[in-house]
Protein backbone atom coordinates (compact mmCIF):
# COMPACT_ATOMS: atom_id res chain seq x y z
CA UNK A 1 0.00 0.00 0.00
CA UNK A 2 1.25 3.43 -0.92
CA UNK A 3 0.57 6.02 1.81
CA UNK A 4 1.23 9.75 1.54
CA UNK A 5 1.07 12.61 3.97
CA UNK A 6 -0.73 15.62 2.52
CA UNK A 7 -1.57 19.15 3.57
CA UNK A 8 -4.54 20.72 1.87
CA UNK A 9 -6.35 24.00 2.52
CA UNK A 10 -10.11 23.61 2.29
CA UNK A 11 -12.30 26.71 2.49
CA UNK A 12 -9.43 28.57 4.10
CA UNK A 13 -8.68 25.96 6.75
CA UNK A 14 -5.56 23.81 6.63
CA UNK A 15 -5.99 20.04 6.95
CA UNK A 16 -3.41 17.29 7.14
CA UNK A 17 -4.09 13.67 6.35
CA UNK A 18 -2.38 10.39 5.58
CA UNK A 19 -3.96 9.06 2.40
CA UNK A 20 -3.65 5.99 0.27
CA UNK A 21 -2.59 6.89 -3.27
CA UNK A 22 -5.86 5.53 -4.67
CA UNK A 23 -8.09 7.69 -2.46
CA UNK A 24 -10.04 10.10 -4.67
CA UNK A 25 -10.33 13.73 -3.65
CA UNK A 26 -14.13 13.51 -3.36
CA UNK A 27 -13.80 10.68 -0.82
CA UNK A 28 -11.21 12.64 1.16
CA UNK A 29 -13.75 15.44 1.45
CA UNK A 30 -16.81 13.32 2.18
CA UNK A 31 -15.51 10.39 4.19
CA UNK A 32 -12.26 11.47 5.81
CA UNK A 33 -13.25 15.07 6.52
CA UNK A 34 -17.01 14.57 6.74
CA UNK A 35 -17.76 17.41 4.32
CA UNK A 36 -20.70 15.85 2.54
CA UNK A 37 -21.81 18.96 0.66
CA UNK A 38 -19.85 17.76 -2.35
CA UNK A 39 -21.90 15.02 -4.00
CA UNK A 40 -20.99 11.89 -5.92
CA UNK A 41 -23.18 11.34 -8.95
CA UNK A 42 -21.87 9.32 -11.87
CA UNK A 43 -18.40 8.78 -10.37
CA UNK A 44 -16.86 8.92 -13.88
CA UNK A 45 -16.35 12.62 -14.82
CA UNK A 46 -19.67 12.92 -16.64
CA UNK A 47 -22.15 14.60 -14.31
CA UNK A 48 -20.27 17.30 -12.43
CA UNK A 49 -22.05 16.79 -9.07
CA UNK A 50 -18.62 16.55 -7.40
CA UNK A 51 -17.26 19.80 -8.89
CA UNK A 52 -15.04 21.75 -6.49
CA UNK A 53 -12.60 24.62 -7.02
CA UNK A 54 -9.00 23.39 -7.21
CA UNK A 55 -6.70 26.42 -6.89
CA UNK A 56 -9.65 28.48 -8.11
CA UNK A 57 -10.55 26.32 -11.10
CA UNK A 58 -13.61 24.02 -11.25
CA UNK A 59 -12.61 20.36 -11.51
CA UNK A 60 -14.49 17.12 -10.96
CA UNK A 61 -13.18 15.74 -7.68
CA UNK A 62 -14.05 12.15 -8.65
CA UNK A 63 -11.22 12.28 -11.20
CA UNK A 64 -8.43 13.70 -9.06
CA UNK A 65 -6.55 11.72 -6.43
CA UNK A 66 -6.41 13.22 -2.95
CA UNK A 67 -2.61 12.98 -3.00
CA UNK A 68 -2.63 15.33 -6.02
CA UNK A 69 -4.25 18.00 -3.83
CA UNK A 70 -1.18 18.20 -1.59
CA UNK A 71 -0.50 21.93 -0.98
CA UNK A 72 -3.58 22.91 -3.00
CA UNK A 73 -6.35 25.36 -2.13
CA UNK A 74 -9.75 23.69 -2.37
CA UNK A 75 -13.10 25.40 -2.17
CA UNK A 76 -16.29 23.43 -1.71
CA UNK A 77 -19.95 24.34 -1.38
CA UNK A 78 -19.47 24.58 2.41
CA UNK A 79 -17.19 27.54 1.71
CA UNK A 80 -19.77 29.64 -0.14
CA UNK A 81 -21.54 31.05 2.91
CA UNK A 82 -19.86 34.20 4.10
CA UNK A 83 -20.41 35.64 7.60
CA UNK A 84 -23.39 33.35 8.02
CA UNK A 85 -25.08 34.73 4.91
CA UNK A 86 -25.82 32.94 1.66
CA UNK A 87 -23.63 34.07 -1.22
CA UNK A 88 -25.29 35.82 -4.16
CA UNK A 89 -25.14 32.53 -6.06
CA UNK A 90 -26.78 30.52 -3.30
CA UNK A 91 -29.42 33.22 -2.94
CA UNK A 92 -30.03 33.08 -6.70
CA UNK A 93 -30.62 29.32 -6.66
CA UNK A 94 -33.00 29.82 -3.73
CA UNK A 95 -34.91 32.78 -5.15
CA UNK A 96 -35.19 31.45 -8.71
CA UNK A 97 -35.90 27.82 -7.78
CA UNK A 98 -32.67 26.73 -9.45
CA UNK A 99 -33.00 23.29 -7.90
CA UNK A 100 -35.56 20.58 -7.31
CA UNK A 101 -33.91 17.48 -5.86
CA UNK A 102 -30.73 19.47 -5.15
CA UNK A 103 -28.32 16.74 -6.11
CA UNK A 104 -26.48 18.68 -8.81
CA UNK A 105 -26.67 21.98 -6.92
CA UNK A 106 -23.32 22.01 -5.06
CA UNK A 107 -21.40 21.27 -8.27
CA UNK A 108 -23.55 23.66 -10.25
CA UNK A 109 -22.86 26.47 -7.78
CA UNK A 110 -19.11 25.84 -7.72
CA UNK A 111 -18.97 26.00 -11.54
CA UNK A 112 -21.08 29.17 -11.39
CA UNK A 113 -18.70 30.70 -8.83
CA UNK A 114 -15.79 30.38 -11.25
CA UNK A 115 -17.92 31.36 -14.26
CA UNK A 116 -18.99 34.67 -12.69
CA UNK A 117 -15.50 35.40 -11.38
CA UNK A 118 -14.20 35.16 -14.95
CA UNK A 119 -17.21 36.67 -16.71
CA UNK A 120 -19.34 38.83 -14.39
CA UNK A 121 -21.98 39.57 -17.07
CA UNK A 122 -22.50 36.36 -19.05
CA UNK A 123 -25.13 36.09 -21.77
CA UNK A 124 -27.64 33.25 -21.59
CA UNK A 125 -25.55 31.35 -24.16
CA UNK A 126 -22.40 31.83 -22.13
CA UNK A 127 -24.17 30.58 -19.00
CA UNK A 128 -25.50 27.51 -20.79
CA UNK A 129 -22.07 26.80 -22.26
CA UNK A 130 -20.39 27.41 -18.90
CA UNK A 131 -22.55 24.92 -17.00
CA UNK A 132 -22.62 22.32 -19.79
CA UNK A 133 -20.29 20.04 -17.80
CA UNK A 134 -22.82 19.86 -14.97
CA UNK A 135 -25.91 17.74 -15.49
CA UNK A 136 -29.31 18.43 -13.94
CA UNK A 137 -32.09 15.91 -14.38
CA UNK A 138 -34.89 17.95 -12.75
CA UNK A 139 -35.02 21.57 -13.74
CA UNK A 140 -34.56 21.55 -17.51
CA UNK A 141 -31.92 24.22 -16.73
CA UNK A 142 -34.29 27.21 -17.22
CA UNK A 143 -34.30 28.15 -13.56
CA UNK A 144 -30.62 27.44 -13.17
CA UNK A 145 -29.91 29.97 -15.92
CA UNK A 146 -32.20 32.46 -14.12
CA UNK A 147 -30.41 31.76 -10.83
CA UNK A 148 -27.04 32.52 -12.41
CA UNK A 149 -28.44 35.72 -13.96
CA UNK A 150 -29.88 36.72 -10.57
CA UNK A 151 -26.48 36.17 -8.96
CA UNK A 152 -24.70 38.14 -11.68
CA UNK A 153 -27.10 41.08 -11.22
CA UNK A 154 -26.83 40.92 -7.44
CA UNK A 155 -23.04 40.88 -7.56
CA UNK A 156 -23.01 43.83 -10.00
CA UNK A 157 -25.29 45.81 -7.64
CA UNK A 158 -22.88 45.21 -4.81
CA UNK A 159 -19.97 46.43 -6.87
CA UNK A 160 -21.86 49.60 -7.81
CA UNK A 161 -23.21 50.23 -4.29
Amino acid sequence: MSMHHIQVTINGKSHEADVESRLLLVYLLRENLNMTGTHIGCDTTSCGACTILFNGTPVKSCAVFAVQADEAEIRTVEGLVQDGKLSAIQEGFHEKHGLQCGYCTPGMMMTTTALLAENPHPTEDEIRHGISGNLCRCTGYMNIVKAVQYAADKMAEKVEA
Binding site: S21, T51, P58, A63, V67, T111
Partner: protein
Protein backbone atom coordinates in the same frame (compact mmCIF):
# COMPACT_ATOMS: atom_id res chain seq x y z
CA UNK B 1 -15.42 1.85 -8.12
CA UNK B 2 -12.24 2.16 -6.09
CA UNK B 3 -9.10 1.80 -8.19
CA UNK B 4 -6.63 -0.99 -7.38
CA UNK B 5 -3.65 0.03 -5.25
CA UNK B 6 -0.65 1.56 -6.95
CA UNK B 7 2.60 3.28 -6.11
CA UNK B 8 2.60 7.03 -6.71
CA UNK B 9 5.34 9.57 -7.33
CA UNK B 10 5.09 13.21 -8.37
CA UNK B 11 8.53 14.27 -9.59
CA UNK B 12 9.36 17.93 -10.23
CA UNK B 13 11.64 17.43 -13.23
CA UNK B 14 11.31 15.62 -16.51
CA UNK B 15 14.46 13.55 -15.99
CA UNK B 16 13.18 12.32 -12.62
CA UNK B 17 9.86 11.46 -14.25
CA UNK B 18 11.55 9.50 -17.04
CA UNK B 19 13.70 7.65 -14.50
CA UNK B 20 10.64 6.80 -12.38
CA UNK B 21 8.78 5.57 -15.44
CA UNK B 22 11.66 3.35 -16.52
CA UNK B 23 12.35 2.07 -13.00
CA UNK B 24 9.09 0.21 -12.58
CA UNK B 25 7.32 -2.40 -14.62
CA UNK B 26 3.81 -1.40 -15.58
CA UNK B 27 4.23 2.26 -14.69
CA UNK B 28 2.03 4.83 -16.37
CA UNK B 29 2.09 8.60 -16.75
CA UNK B 30 -0.69 10.51 -14.97
CA UNK B 31 -1.38 13.72 -16.89
CA UNK B 32 -4.86 15.28 -16.54
CA UNK B 33 -6.25 11.91 -15.51
CA UNK B 34 -9.67 12.58 -17.01
CA UNK B 35 -9.57 9.32 -18.99
CA UNK B 36 -7.06 7.32 -16.97
CA UNK B 37 -8.65 7.74 -13.54
CA UNK B 38 -12.13 6.59 -14.67
CA UNK B 39 -10.47 3.67 -16.52
CA UNK B 40 -8.67 2.69 -13.31
CA UNK B 41 -11.93 2.91 -11.39
CA UNK B 42 -13.55 0.50 -13.85
CA UNK B 43 -10.36 -1.57 -13.49
CA UNK B 44 -9.83 -1.45 -17.22
CA UNK B 45 -6.38 -0.07 -16.42
CA UNK B 46 -4.35 -1.28 -13.43
CA UNK B 47 -0.94 0.38 -13.51
CA UNK B 48 1.32 -0.70 -10.64
CA UNK B 49 2.75 2.79 -10.49
CA UNK B 50 1.61 6.25 -11.50
CA UNK B 51 4.15 8.90 -12.38
CA UNK B 52 2.21 12.13 -11.89
CA UNK B 53 3.72 14.81 -14.16
CA UNK B 54 1.43 17.62 -12.95
CA UNK B 55 4.28 19.03 -10.85
CA UNK B 56 6.92 18.85 -13.59
CA UNK B 57 7.98 22.39 -14.49
CA UNK B 58 8.00 23.70 -18.03
CA UNK B 59 5.45 21.49 -19.78
CA UNK B 60 2.65 24.04 -20.00
CA UNK B 61 2.96 26.68 -22.74
CA UNK B 62 1.66 27.82 -26.12
CA UNK B 63 4.39 29.42 -28.27
CA UNK B 64 4.61 30.23 -31.94
CA UNK B 65 7.71 30.67 -34.07
CA UNK B 66 7.78 31.12 -37.83
CA UNK B 67 7.39 27.41 -38.58
CA UNK B 68 5.39 25.93 -35.72
CA UNK B 69 2.78 26.41 -33.05
CA UNK B 70 4.32 24.60 -30.08
CA UNK B 71 2.11 23.41 -27.26
CA UNK B 72 3.52 21.87 -24.10
CA UNK B 73 1.99 18.49 -23.36
CA UNK B 74 0.65 19.50 -19.92
CA UNK B 75 -1.17 22.54 -21.27
CA UNK B 76 -4.79 22.25 -20.11
CA UNK B 77 -7.53 22.15 -22.72
CA UNK B 78 -9.11 25.25 -21.21
CA UNK B 79 -5.86 27.17 -21.80
CA UNK B 80 -5.97 26.20 -25.48
CA UNK B 81 -9.69 27.08 -25.57
CA UNK B 82 -9.00 30.57 -24.20
CA UNK B 83 -5.89 31.29 -26.29
CA UNK B 84 -6.42 34.32 -28.60
CA UNK B 85 -3.59 33.04 -30.81
CA UNK B 86 -5.31 29.69 -31.31
CA UNK B 87 -8.68 31.33 -31.97
CA UNK B 88 -7.21 33.72 -34.50
CA UNK B 89 -4.82 31.51 -36.47
CA UNK B 90 -5.72 27.89 -35.77
CA UNK B 91 -9.49 27.58 -36.32
CA UNK B 92 -9.38 23.77 -36.68
CA UNK B 93 -7.79 23.45 -33.23
CA UNK B 94 -10.11 26.12 -31.80
CA UNK B 95 -13.18 24.28 -33.16
CA UNK B 96 -11.99 20.98 -31.71
CA UNK B 97 -11.09 22.17 -28.23
CA UNK B 98 -14.45 23.92 -27.85
CA UNK B 99 -16.28 20.59 -28.26
CA UNK B 100 -13.72 18.39 -26.51
CA UNK B 101 -15.44 16.82 -23.50
CA UNK B 102 -17.01 19.53 -21.28
CA UNK B 103 -15.80 22.83 -19.79
CA UNK B 104 -15.03 21.38 -16.33
CA UNK B 105 -13.11 18.39 -17.72
CA UNK B 106 -11.21 20.79 -20.01
CA UNK B 107 -9.86 22.57 -16.91
CA UNK B 108 -7.98 19.41 -16.01
CA UNK B 109 -7.53 17.47 -19.27
CA UNK B 110 -4.28 18.04 -21.17
CA UNK B 111 -3.21 18.35 -24.78
CA UNK B 112 -0.62 15.58 -24.48
CA UNK B 113 -3.00 13.27 -22.67
CA UNK B 114 -5.62 13.52 -25.38
CA UNK B 115 -3.04 12.39 -27.93
CA UNK B 116 -0.99 9.87 -25.94
CA UNK B 117 -4.07 8.11 -24.57
CA UNK B 118 -4.64 6.48 -27.98
CA UNK B 119 -8.42 6.36 -27.73
CA UNK B 120 -9.99 6.71 -31.20
CA UNK B 121 -12.77 8.72 -29.53
CA UNK B 122 -10.36 11.47 -28.50
CA UNK B 123 -10.60 14.56 -30.69
CA UNK B 124 -6.99 15.67 -31.13
CA UNK B 125 -5.65 12.64 -33.00
CA UNK B 126 -7.74 13.42 -36.12
CA UNK B 127 -7.00 17.14 -35.74
CA UNK B 128 -3.25 16.51 -35.60
CA UNK B 129 -3.42 14.14 -38.58
CA UNK B 130 -5.19 16.86 -40.59
CA UNK B 131 -2.59 19.45 -39.55
CA UNK B 132 0.38 17.17 -40.28
CA UNK B 133 1.64 17.77 -36.74
CA UNK B 134 4.66 16.32 -34.93
CA UNK B 135 5.10 15.37 -31.30
CA UNK B 136 8.25 15.23 -29.23
CA UNK B 137 8.92 12.53 -26.68
CA UNK B 138 11.61 12.37 -24.02
CA UNK B 139 13.08 9.10 -22.80
CA UNK B 140 16.28 7.96 -21.09
CA UNK B 141 18.27 8.62 -24.28
CA UNK B 142 16.93 12.13 -24.76
CA UNK B 143 14.38 13.68 -27.05
CA UNK B 144 13.02 12.43 -30.36
CA UNK B 145 10.50 13.81 -32.81
CA UNK B 146 7.67 11.57 -33.99
CA UNK B 147 5.55 12.56 -37.01
CA UNK B 148 1.91 12.19 -36.07
CA UNK B 149 1.34 9.91 -39.07
CA UNK B 150 3.42 7.23 -37.38
CA UNK B 151 2.21 7.86 -33.82
CA UNK B 152 -1.12 5.99 -33.63
CA UNK B 153 -0.53 2.27 -33.83
CA UNK B 154 -3.70 0.70 -32.48
CA UNK B 155 -6.38 0.90 -29.85
CA UNK B 156 -4.73 2.60 -26.82
CA UNK B 157 -1.41 1.92 -28.51
CA UNK B 158 1.05 4.57 -29.66
CA UNK B 159 4.64 4.87 -30.84
CA UNK B 160 5.69 6.01 -27.36
CA UNK B 161 7.97 3.55 -25.58
CA UNK B 162 6.92 2.61 -22.05
CA UNK B 163 9.66 4.85 -20.62
CA UNK B 164 8.98 7.88 -22.82
CA UNK B 165 6.91 10.97 -22.01
CA UNK B 166 5.20 13.07 -24.64
CA UNK B 167 6.42 16.63 -24.08
CA UNK B 168 5.29 18.81 -26.96
CA UNK B 169 2.92 18.98 -29.92
CA UNK B 170 3.96 21.02 -32.95
CA UNK B 171 1.44 22.23 -35.48
CA UNK B 172 2.76 23.80 -38.73
CA UNK B 173 2.14 27.56 -38.79
CA UNK B 174 -0.58 28.34 -41.33
CA UNK B 175 0.50 29.50 -44.78
CA UNK B 176 -1.41 32.30 -46.50
CA UNK B 177 -4.83 31.20 -47.82
CA UNK B 178 -5.18 28.30 -45.45
CA UNK B 179 -8.04 27.39 -43.15
CA UNK B 180 -9.50 24.52 -41.20
CA UNK B 181 -12.59 23.27 -39.40
CA UNK B 182 -13.66 20.48 -37.05
CA UNK B 183 -17.19 19.14 -37.14
CA UNK B 184 -18.34 16.71 -34.48
CA UNK B 185 -21.65 15.04 -33.81
CA UNK B 186 -22.08 14.18 -30.15
CA UNK B 187 -25.22 12.96 -28.41
CA UNK B 188 -24.63 15.32 -25.54
CA UNK B 189 -21.86 17.58 -24.24
CA UNK B 190 -19.06 15.43 -22.87
CA UNK B 191 -19.81 12.33 -24.93
CA UNK B 192 -17.34 10.87 -27.40
CA UNK B 193 -18.06 11.72 -31.03
CA UNK B 194 -20.53 9.58 -32.94
CA UNK B 195 -18.13 10.67 -35.68
CA UNK B 196 -16.15 13.83 -36.33
CA UNK B 197 -14.14 15.24 -39.23
CA UNK B 198 -11.07 17.49 -39.13
CA UNK B 199 -10.16 19.38 -42.31
CA UNK B 200 -7.19 21.66 -42.97
CA UNK B 201 -6.67 23.14 -46.43
CA UNK B 202 -4.33 25.50 -48.25
CA UNK B 203 -5.45 27.15 -51.49
CA UNK B 204 -3.53 28.96 -54.22
CA UNK B 205 -4.59 32.36 -55.55
CA UNK B 206 -7.06 30.73 -57.97
CA UNK B 207 -8.79 28.68 -55.30
CA UNK B 208 -7.08 25.40 -56.19
CA UNK B 209 -6.17 23.04 -53.35
CA UNK B 210 -2.41 23.18 -52.69
CA UNK B 211 -2.64 20.89 -49.70
CA UNK B 212 -5.43 19.07 -47.88
CA UNK B 213 -5.43 17.28 -44.53
CA UNK B 214 -8.41 15.17 -43.45
CA UNK B 215 -8.69 13.29 -40.17
CA UNK B 216 -11.61 11.16 -38.96
CA UNK B 217 -12.53 10.65 -35.28
CA UNK B 218 -14.05 7.51 -33.73
CA UNK B 219 -14.68 5.54 -36.91
CA UNK B 220 -11.86 3.00 -36.56
CA UNK B 221 -9.40 1.55 -34.05
CA UNK B 222 -7.37 4.73 -34.35
CA UNK B 223 -8.07 8.13 -35.84
CA UNK B 224 -7.94 7.79 -39.63
CA UNK B 225 -6.10 9.98 -42.13
CA UNK B 226 -8.29 9.98 -45.25
CA UNK B 227 -5.38 9.94 -47.69
CA UNK B 228 -7.34 8.96 -50.83
CA UNK B 229 -9.63 11.95 -50.34
CA UNK B 230 -6.65 14.24 -49.65
CA UNK B 231 -4.82 13.06 -52.78
CA UNK B 232 -7.96 13.39 -54.90
CA UNK B 233 -8.34 17.07 -54.00
CA UNK B 234 -4.73 18.14 -54.41
CA UNK B 235 -4.39 20.31 -57.53
CA UNK B 236 -8.16 20.44 -58.07
CA UNK B 237 -10.36 23.48 -57.68
CA UNK B 238 -12.41 23.89 -54.53
CA UNK B 239 -15.76 23.32 -56.23
CA UNK B 240 -18.60 21.62 -54.43
CA UNK B 241 -18.49 18.78 -56.92
CA UNK B 242 -14.87 17.97 -56.05
CA UNK B 243 -15.60 18.31 -52.35
CA UNK B 244 -18.48 15.83 -52.65
CA UNK B 245 -16.34 13.30 -54.46
CA UNK B 246 -13.62 13.62 -51.82
CA UNK B 247 -16.19 13.15 -49.08
CA UNK B 248 -17.26 9.87 -50.66
CA UNK B 249 -13.62 8.71 -50.54
CA UNK B 250 -13.36 9.78 -46.88
CA UNK B 251 -16.49 7.78 -46.04
CA UNK B 252 -14.97 4.75 -47.77
CA UNK B 253 -11.81 5.14 -45.69
CA UNK B 254 -13.78 5.04 -42.43
CA UNK B 255 -14.15 1.73 -40.57
CA UNK B 256 -16.91 2.36 -38.04
CA UNK B 257 -18.51 -0.31 -35.89
CA UNK B 258 -22.14 -0.32 -34.80
CA UNK B 259 -22.70 0.70 -31.18
CA UNK B 260 -25.13 2.74 -29.08
CA UNK B 261 -24.22 5.79 -31.15
CA UNK B 262 -25.40 4.33 -34.44
CA UNK B 263 -25.01 1.70 -37.16
CA UNK B 264 -22.05 1.37 -39.48
CA UNK B 265 -24.05 2.76 -42.38
CA UNK B 266 -25.22 5.73 -40.37
CA UNK B 267 -21.70 6.60 -39.23
CA UNK B 268 -20.26 6.23 -42.72
CA UNK B 269 -22.96 8.51 -44.06
CA UNK B 270 -22.20 10.96 -41.26
CA UNK B 271 -18.51 10.99 -42.23
CA UNK B 272 -19.51 11.85 -45.79
CA UNK B 273 -21.83 14.69 -44.80
CA UNK B 274 -19.43 16.12 -42.23
CA UNK B 275 -16.48 15.91 -44.62
CA UNK B 276 -18.44 18.02 -47.12
CA UNK B 277 -19.32 20.55 -44.45
CA UNK B 278 -15.86 20.64 -42.86
CA UNK B 279 -14.18 21.15 -46.25
CA UNK B 280 -16.63 23.89 -47.23
CA UNK B 281 -16.00 25.68 -43.95
CA UNK B 282 -12.21 25.23 -44.25
CA UNK B 283 -12.28 26.65 -47.80
CA UNK B 284 -14.44 29.56 -46.70
CA UNK B 285 -11.98 30.34 -43.91
CA UNK B 286 -9.01 29.94 -46.25
CA UNK B 287 -10.59 32.56 -48.51
CA UNK B 288 -10.87 34.86 -45.53
CA UNK B 289 -14.58 34.35 -44.95
Amino acid sequence: MIPPTFEYVAPKTLSEAVAALGGHENAKVLAGGQSLIPLMRFRLASPAMLVDINRVEGLSYINEDKDWLKIGSMTRQSTVDHSPLVREKYPLLADAVSVLSDPVVRNRGTVGGNIANGDPGNDYPAVMLAYGAEVTAVGPKGERVIPITSFFIGLYESALASNEILTEVRIPSPKPRSGGAYLKLERKVGDFATAAVAAQVELDAKGTFKSVGLGLTNVGLTAIKATAAEDFLKGKDSSDDNIRQAAQLAAEASMPIADVRGSEEYKRSLVKTYTVRALRKAVERAKGG
